[in-house]
Amino acid sequence: MIGSRFESLIVRRTGSLLVPLVQIFALYVLFFGQYGPGGGFVAGVMIAASLVLGQLVFGRSGLSARRARSLLAGDGMGLLIFVAVGGLGLIGGGQFLNYSEAPIPGLPDASRRYVGILLTQIGVALDVAVAAVSIVFSLSRSARGEAGNA
């Protein structure tokens, strides 16, 4: 499973084409989410899918155990971005998650809310991507450990 290298040329070639394509499309979905379908959640899942695909095709063994653990820090970071942007509204004297009260000088209310939506979407994408990848690593790590013992 994850961690075992694929030596097949077709799989590696397809992977090297697909992974960057999916990642670029995920970024497009993330930053275009205010104009078309998409947004933070979908973008996060797509980034996670591309990372899992890359790990499946090009992964080296032995890295995923430590990576699953250190990834969880990034999980909290996404949530922190969301809460921090929401808290900016509190600092500016408004309600929690009311981005129009955020203390960003020189911007009209609507632009502040626009920026708030963009930043929280990045937070959600980070949170979802890291959570999904770390779940995949947690699941596959145990599977690989059993295969190694047998």
Binding site: M1, I2, V29, G33, Q34, Y35, G36, P37, G38, G39, G40, F41, V42, V45, M46, A48, A49, V52, A65, A68, R69, L72, D75, G76, G78, L79, F82, V83, G86, F96, L97, Y99, D109, A110, S111, R113, Y114, G116, I117, T120, Q121, G123, V124, D127, V128, V130, A131, A132, S134, I135, V136, S138, L139, S140, R141, S142, A143, G145, E146, A147
Partner: protein, 176 residues
């Protein structure tokens, strides 16, 4: 309204759902479930819910399939055949009755796209009319999720965060 597109999709949806239940092998069931999600995404897209279709395609057909397969390889690596006991008589009698009851209740729901339904008259007009002026965001789904209803989304993000933490805590193997 013509049903030339919905009807084949609905038939495929029911076929894949039934196939996922009736198939004899767990891996086949997981893959059929992935195709079920794909057809469901097509139906959402046809109904105009592009965001929901997007999530269904990426999560249901992509990530959930990977999760299922990984869990399968972890729990039952050798034998993935399903041994299914016969369902009890109560289930065979009660489930169709429950289905009939649900269909009967569904006839009371407002029809699709009804402008007088409660869902279209309460707060949605406000969001639809003011989204661009308030937030400069033409996609109302995004502005509702991230601005008007941001607290809901925050709690959902907390749920995702918790699931990542819980999976790591439950599945870790290292003794430290």
């Amino acid at each position: 309204m013509t049903y030339s597109f919905e009807l084949p999709l609905l038939v495929l949806l029911i076929l894949t759902a039934g196939g996922a239940i009736l198939v004899k092998d767990l891996i086949s069931a997981v893959l059929i479930l992935g195709s079920y999600s794909f057809f469901l995404a097509l139906i959402w897209a046809w109904l105009g819910a592009a965001d929901v279709a997007f999530v269904e395609a990426v999560v249901g057909a992509g990530l959930a399939t990977v999760f299922f397969l990984l869990t399968l390889f972890r729990t039952a690596p050798d034998d993935t055949r399903i041994r299914r006991p016969r369902p009890p008589v109560v289930v065979v009698v009660a489930l169709p009755l429950l289905g009939m009851l649900l269909l009967y209740a569904a006839s009371d729901l407002p029809s699709f796209g009804d402008p007088a339904s409660p869902a279209s008259t309460h707060v949605s007009p406000h969001y639809l009319e003011n989204s661009v002026a308030d937030t400069l965001t033409p996609n109302v789904v995004t502005s509702v999720l991230m601005d008007y209803r941001a607290l809901d989304t925050l709690i959902e993000t907390v749920v995702v965060f918790t699931s990542g933490i819980a999976c790591w805590l439950l599945l870790r193997r290292d003794p430290e």
